[in-house]
């Protein structure tokens, strides 16, 4: 009897919560007189007086700004509560974080919801992590590949720390999304601690509209605008879903949290271990439109005296159906590149592209043959060849 009454009470609470969540959206009326329009808007805002706006501002009168009061108080999760969340403790251990990194910060890094339960979200940590990441990633790329053209450099940065890469990293770390609504949690008697170790980005409203079929879900308004803008400009493959964005944000926030708890050295090591250790597919990122012309311009810029010439090095089976030609690009006596193709033209293009790639993908080494140190390393020395000469224009 007691149990049933508890359920009834709580269902009432849940339905009340749902009532709060289903805020009527401001409607756009087809321009009646201005006064009427204003009146409607006023009415709408007066509805918000029941502390339903996202800032939960309260006021006696909408035009009396002095009476505005914000009553959102965010707090951090107590460490004792955080330590009872199995996914959180496991994540802490999976990432080999030291005990200085508090579990409550880790839980905060996984919370993207603005005003959920009054818990602090990862907004600040995310920005901190993003800046740290872009510093270390671009430093690494600029020093390791000083001659990379600007568009390739940008794509390479994205390939290491773009949302898609960070999504994969978040998945590898075993971060799960909290996909059950408050009602589901109550009905399945799920422990409240579980959610503190999960990625929380779905609002209660979206959680209620559960997936009818796995893999099919309703896009949020941001996703729809993102999709539309993508359709207008580039291919839709660059569409990034909310989930991917949320994972990226969580990973960045975890890195930001590491910086706040353990400082720069440890964060740098962490970024090297988890992000810079990934394989960059630089060779597959180039798309040349006029490679021969570009090579000629490049040699001009580098003040090569001799003209570029393309010579046949070897060939076989010219009269057969499977001819092979080996072609080299030369500048005087120096061979710049070499290519193999089944026609002279193909071999020539491959040779030119090969010459361009070997210039662009140059990576300097120091006297002992080791990789060059980056400026944030301890005894960094400036070496020639670390600063690129800039791109060529055709």
């Amino acid at each position: 009897m007691l149990r049933r009454s508890m359920i009834v009470k709580d269902l009432a609470r849940v339905s009340r919560l749902r009532g709060l969540m289903s805020i009527p959206q401001p409607r756009h009326y087809s321009q009646p007189s201005k006064a009427v329009n204003q009146q409607i808007n006023l009415q709408h805002y007066e509805n918000l007086n029941q502390s339903t706006s996202s800032f939960q501002a309260k006021y006696d009168n909408i035009q009396d700004y002095g009476s505005y009061k914000h009553n959102v108080f965010t707090h951090r999760l107590p460490e004792s509560t955080a330590s009872q969340s199995p996914p959180l403790v496991a994540l802490h251990s999976r990432l080999n974080l030291s005990s200085q990194y508090s579990l409550s910060t880790l839980s905060q890094a996984l919370n993207l919801n603005k005003f959920d339960d009054g818990l602090a979200n990862n907004y600040g940590l995310n920005i901190l992590g993003k800046n740290l990441l872009s510093y270390y990633v671009s430093e690494y790329l600029l020093v390791k590949y000083p001659r990379l053209p600007m568009p390739i450099h940008n794509v390479a940065v994205d390939s290491l720390m773009g949302s898609k890469a960070l999504y994969q990293i978040g998945k590898i770390w075993g971060i799960e999304v909290d996909k059950s609504s408050k009602l589901d949690k109550y009905l399945s008697q799920e422990s409240e601690f579980l959610k503190y170790g999960k990625l929380r980005y779905l609002t209660e409203e979206r959680l209620d509209n559960n997936e009818a079929e796995s893999g099919v879900y309703e896009l949020s308004s941001e996703e729809i605008t993102n999709l539309k803008s993508n359709n207008n400009t580039a291919s839709s493959s660059s569409f990034i879903s909310d989930e991917v964005e949320a994972y990226g944000s969580a990973v960045r926030a975890i890195i930001g949290g590491l910086y706040t708890h353990q400082g720069e050295e440890i964060t740098k090591q962490f970024i090297q271990d988890h992000i810079l250790s990934r394989k960059l597919l630089l060779e597959n990122m180039f798309e040349f439109s006029q490679p021969t012309r570009e090579l000629v311009r490049l040699c001009d810029k580098l003040n090569f005296q001799d003209p570029i010439d393309i010579r046949l090095i070897a060939e076989t089976g010219r009269l057969s159906s499977h001819a092979i030609y080996v072609v080299g690009v030369f500048c005087g006596v120096e061979k710049l590149g070499e290519g193999v193709g089944s026609s002279m033209n193909e071999a020539k293009t491959r040779a030119v592209v090969n010459a361009l790639m070997s210039y662009y993908l140059y990576s300097p080494i120091d006297n002992e043959g080791n990789e060059v140190k980056v400026p944030s390393d301890k005894d960094y020395k400036y070496l020639d060849g670390i600063v690129g000469l800039g791109d060529v224009a055709i």
């Binding site: 996914p87 990293i169 590898i172 990122m285 798309e287 570009e294 092979i324």
Partner: protein, 140 residues
């Protein structure tokens, strides 16, 4: 524009920098009544599962009471879930299963009969018959 860029996502190399174990969650399903769960119940009563969970602190353990044969569900980070039936297994056999599957990658096992498996280019390059002096070249 001289060069256009093609977006490619980098490929993870687990273990090159940091190693993160691919198995992140294990659900232990047991039945409180059936005879096939005897071994698992023994482990649970002796607190052995607790001990294993403490040793494997990077894996979430979830113990679920459910009627039917007992099973172990291993969740891997490539979205694979492996359900292992442990009906009628003895306690030490279950521990072996836990050890074995928690160290797997989640990929299917396959017969590997090549010399090298790598995503890197060959360091030495590929031998070419056309790069020998003309006098030594093979003629058709």
């Amino acid at each position: 524009m001289p060069v256009k860029a093609i977006a490619r996502t980098s490929i993870s190399r687990n273990g090159v920098g940091a190693f993160v174990s691919p198995c992140y969650k294990i659900s232990v399903n047991y039945c409180n009544w059936g005879g096939s769960s005897t071994g698992l119940r023994e482990l649970l009563n002796a607190g052995k599962i607790d001990k294993i969970a403490q040793e494997k602190s990077n894996i979430i353990f979830e113990v679920i009471k459910r009627t039917g044969h007992p099973s172990l569900k291993f969740h891997y980070n490539n979205d694979v879930v492996q359900d292992i039936n442990i009906a009628n297994l003895k306690a030490h056999e279950i521990v072996n299963k836990l050890d074995e599957y928690s160290q797997r990658s989640g990929n299917d096992l396959f017969k590997f009969n090549h010399r090298v498996l790598s995503i890197n280019d060959s360091v030495r390059g590929v031998w070419s018959p056309l790069h020998t002096p003309k006098t030594h070249r093979h003629k058709i």
